[in-house]
Symmetry: C2
Subunit: 386 residues, 2 copies
């Protein structure tokens, strides 16, 4: 350990606790801040003066009502820093810009086919969003990016993303060089899991999983309140999961033709719907079934059974408290599908989680990306090192 003055540590900790508190609970008075952080009124006042001098907090109003003078309310200065978050999909790139308080200022979009390479695509989308937000790219403290594929947790770089041919190892370095600031790349499903945890169905739950059922299949694993990425960033790649009734997967081919992926996913469900004599695509049939169409009932049961086959294995390994169904299929299936999946899991093993549909509105991947971007931006802006 460093021989550094250890007493600074406690002040830094208190400063950061106060900032986090103002971010989560909104503006507070000196006295209330002291109570919440565990400091005396006097020390809380000194703390706020200090943060005010650094330009991080300001008086944002006065508290009305109650006896005595109207206490000043202190809040975090929104312009202390900005972040940009992106969701990279095969056919669309979405960006969102927010200030340090987490307030979303503007969004931007781009068709990736319009850009020659990832760096150009990111730069164009971010430029679009920052312009609408009325800030410059230079004011961004951090860029966070959600993509399909596997990210190496050691380097933070992409290992491979099947659906995005241009996004391969080295992209991180290119982006860092181009933007000259922290860049975070994270798997899209993992980000959806983080979004669910910070503002959705798994909020406050220690151990949970989020199953992403869409074109691809994925799983976000939350253990003890933290996202588990795995040694090589491959945790949750359940498209490859061997499931009884599917053909045994082989090698590291695309999971499209392997295992769990062959049973569920949007494509597999289209096929399944036809097999049940239904018209329309799989997701449409899920919606019909949820809305009460009796013809689509057996189809929904079979879908629940298939999902349970894979999820039961996951529950046997992890025993999560909660299992969220997300992605287009999870959202379409809603409470009805979730209840059936839970029942089917119960028939397959001893560990039965509560199964629920996602509770995030909007794009959960973008939301999660914003989350991790804000986390690192705050670490940077609020730290006393700079």
């Amino acid at each position: 350990m460093s021989r550094a003055p250890k007493t600074h540590l406690i002040r830094d900790t208190n400063d950061r606790a106060a900032l986090d508190l103002m971010l989560s609970d909104g503006p507070v008075t000196k006295t209330r801040l002291g109570e919440l952080v565990g400091l005396s009124k006097v020390t809380a006042g000194q703390l706020l003066t200090r943060l005010g001098d650094r330009g991080l907090v300001q008086v944002v109003g006065t508290q009305q009502g109650g006896r005595g003078p109207n206490a000043a309310l202190y809040g975090v200065v929104p312009s202390a820093g900005y972040v940009a978050a992106l969701h990279i999909g095969p056919d669309q790139i979405t960006a969102s810009v927010a200030d340090i308080t987490g307030t979303e200022l503007a969004t931007g979009e781009l068709d990736p086919h319009e850009a020659s390479d990832p760096v150009e695509a990111v730069r164009a989308t971010v430029a679009n969003a920052t312009e609408r937000a009325g800030i410059t790219i230079e004011q961004l403290r951090c860029l966070s990016i959600g993509t399909p594929g596997m990210i190496d947790p050691r380097t933070g770089d992409i290992r491979f993303a099947n659906d995005l041919p241009d996004w391969r190892a080295g992209v991180l370095e290119d982006l860092r060089r181009s933007f000259q600031r922290p860049i975070l790349i994270e798997n899209d499903v993992n980000l959806a899991g983080l979004a669910e945890q910070s503002a959705g169905a798994t909020h406050g739950v220690k151990d949970s999983v989020l199953a992403w059922i869409d074109r691809g299949l994925g799983l976000a694993v939350i253990v003890d309140g933290r996202l588990h990425r795995g040694a090589g960033g491959g945790a949750g790649e359940i498209g490859y999961l061997a499931v009884p009734g599917a053909s045994t997967p082989h090698g590291t081919d695309s999971p499209q033709h392997a295992a769990f992926q062959s049973l569920v996913s949007v494509e597999a469900m289209d096929t399944l719907a036809r097999a049940f004599g239904l018209s329309g695509d799989g997701v449409g049939c899920v919606r019909s079934a949820v809305e009460g169409d009796p013809d689509a009932e057996p189809f929904l049961d079979e879908l629940a059974r298939r999902l349970a086959l894979g999820l039961a294995g996951i529950c046997v390994v992890l025993d999560p408290e909660l299992c969220v169904l997300a992605g287009e299929v999870g959202r379409a299936g809603g409470e009805v599908l979730a209840a059936r999946v839970q029942k089917a899991i119960a028939s397959l093993g001893p560990n039965v989680p509560t199964v629920v549909p996602t509770a995030i509105s909007g794009d959960p991947v973008l939301r999660g990306a914003l989350q991790i971007g804000l986390d690192t931006a705050r670490d940077e802006v609020f730290s006393n090192q700079g």
Copy 2:
């Protein structure tokens, strides 16, 4: 956050860091302690005086060599506390007594059929071990117990243990009443995983799993350096894992006839050995194969293939860095089996951990139980509350 004097926290932290350091690195001088904990020589001296007054550390010798006066070496007082650890098996109960430094003083054994109930069995075995260690039961700060079955992480009580009919919910309460001190009950496979992590193959590894292949089948999941128990304590009950090629499990029957358990385990291997025309039991055949018997080769290959079918699913979900094969089969299979399992996993999915045999000698369950017992005893003895 309590309004309590926050400044005590830093002193307590330093005291504890010093104690942990003396436990892991052995006796140290004042000056060296200061360097390692990050304190000045003066403060380190005050710290040691304080801990000496509390009877926790003492001078255990002097450092020879080097200039100047021979510095006094300070170490933790072994008699500051004792713990007992137990491993409950269907046919044998083993106990081990250690002092607060982790030095094992004595062991004891008992045939559980000699005792009328769990409390009696534990009391008799512990009495045996403490007597041999030259201490009394009253000197024990904590008892830790490893059993098969599921433990509820909320209450710490047993939910059920198929192999131990007398060990059921309520045992924890009975033991607490009888011994009037902290009692910890933990799943045996989880304890083996902890032992492996603190002194075995997964030492220093953040994400790992330990597969226990014996009469029963189990998995210890270590995520980010910490044991993952699951919401209901059911994480790692992989006997129920659905695996292609095994019959689909059903309900919460004993896993004996279900899924992964039906493919591997000592009994399944006996059957498998006969099917391959081998004489002797399954474990014996594993040993023969490892020692180079060509007739047993195909048997070992099939065993590795079966293990990989289940482990591949686990790797797809968790992507561990290391996978340990433990239990009687894992130990017998050694490096040879581990290498084949790793190769087989590589053919089944994208996440391939390093597969190794257990590196713990002796009873890993007892070792793990001692570990958690020492952890809580130290928390208690070293805390400043009492």
